[in-house]
Amino acid sequence: MKLEAIGIGKQLPDKSWLFRSIDLSIRQGEIVGLQGASGSGKSSLCRILAGMDSPTEGEVRINGHLLPKRGYHPVQLVYQHPEHAVNPRWKVGAILNEGWQPDDELLDALHIDRSWFNRWPSELSGGQLQRICIARSLSPHTSYLLADEMTTMLDAITQAQIWKTALQIAERRKMGMLVVSHDRALLHKVCDRVIDFHAWTV
């Protein structure tokens, strides 16, 4: 039971390669860190793993099968900028419940206040909105979570709260995680192993 990237590569419109021949495997319940310079292709790799973009070569498999094209996607991606990840015309409650209805336990663990539900996204701070986005992506059907600089924009206390909850859920549900960050200390603290994207692609 694992999420596998087999020999994947991504070519840019100018025909140069962003990265090539990447093999990556994340087992159930494993937390893998990914660090690398800006523009090296970490976010593109995440998008490919989540099935939002197709690789130029290679393939992504989940438990031996190709990624599903329809239905709830077992690999969920949490963006760095939550304000882009929510429809500005929807109230926060509708955004949170788009894919599933998070239970009180999860909402409490992420310190989500019920009074936010009737507000517009523009009335919430980035940190509050990011917690909504994380709760939205943590459905029981999520087998793998890709955290692309998930807590970079948050203060240290909120970061700690969110990682504590995410790690607890990952452990309880045997959910695999790919943590993309510039913060080496964070990666070494929360991950089982850390991959350097630069060393990998060169």
Binding site: R70, G71, H84, R136
Partner: protein, 269 residues
Amino acid sequence: MKRSYLLTIISASVLLVVPLLLAALLSSKGLLSQLDARNLSPSWNHLFGTDWLGRDMLTRTMKGLALSIGVGTAASISSAIIACILGLIAATLGKTADRIITWLIDCFLSVPHLVLLILIAFAAGGGMKGVILALALTHWPSLARLLRAEILAMKVAPYVIISKQLGKSSWWIATRHMLPHLLPQFIVGALLMFPHAILHEAALTFLGMGLSPHQPAIGIILSESMKYISAGMWWLAVFPGLCLFIVVRAFDMLARSLYSIIDPSRARQ
């Protein structure tokens, strides 16, 4: 803030309904010549005065405005439908369709409106049919371009992609995410076409390529009044011109206030 926009919308709507109501209420008798009441300046009996044939200018102006609003409505709706279809095709049917439609939009936008209007109205044989056809065929490009750009931007918007990840179907995404965003833009775009269409109808008619002279159109009234202005009959041009200006401004204000209310960046207010 929202209240002041609502107030503007209500007053603009009233300004647009008044000529329609007056046109329906005023008897067509005012359109007949009364040779004993020629060239009368504005008075209580004839608020906008009378012309060189003794026709009541208030009746002519209101009937003319109602006709202009009717022509503007027909032309704007047809134009908006053309824009919607072409914008959708360009954004969804692949690169070749997009290139052809973008090229068509550029072609239409590169020629001055009035030149195209005259050509199409002339080719269609003038009259009401010619005017509506010319207006409908020339006013769609900017709205089509806007809709195309909006749909293309929405297709790659992270929240739309996330919605797909959350298991939502394309139809669900189109109706819940895209339509609520596009519909206000479409309505406002179509509303902003009205003042253009009305002004261009008047301009076409003024130039003699539009509605036939027996119809009480604002363009005809203004065109005919030019001959009498030097004789001091200012009311023939001032009142119809002012009314046309008010109707056009009312449409403009209505569309802009509506946009301010439904613009997502102002959702907080």
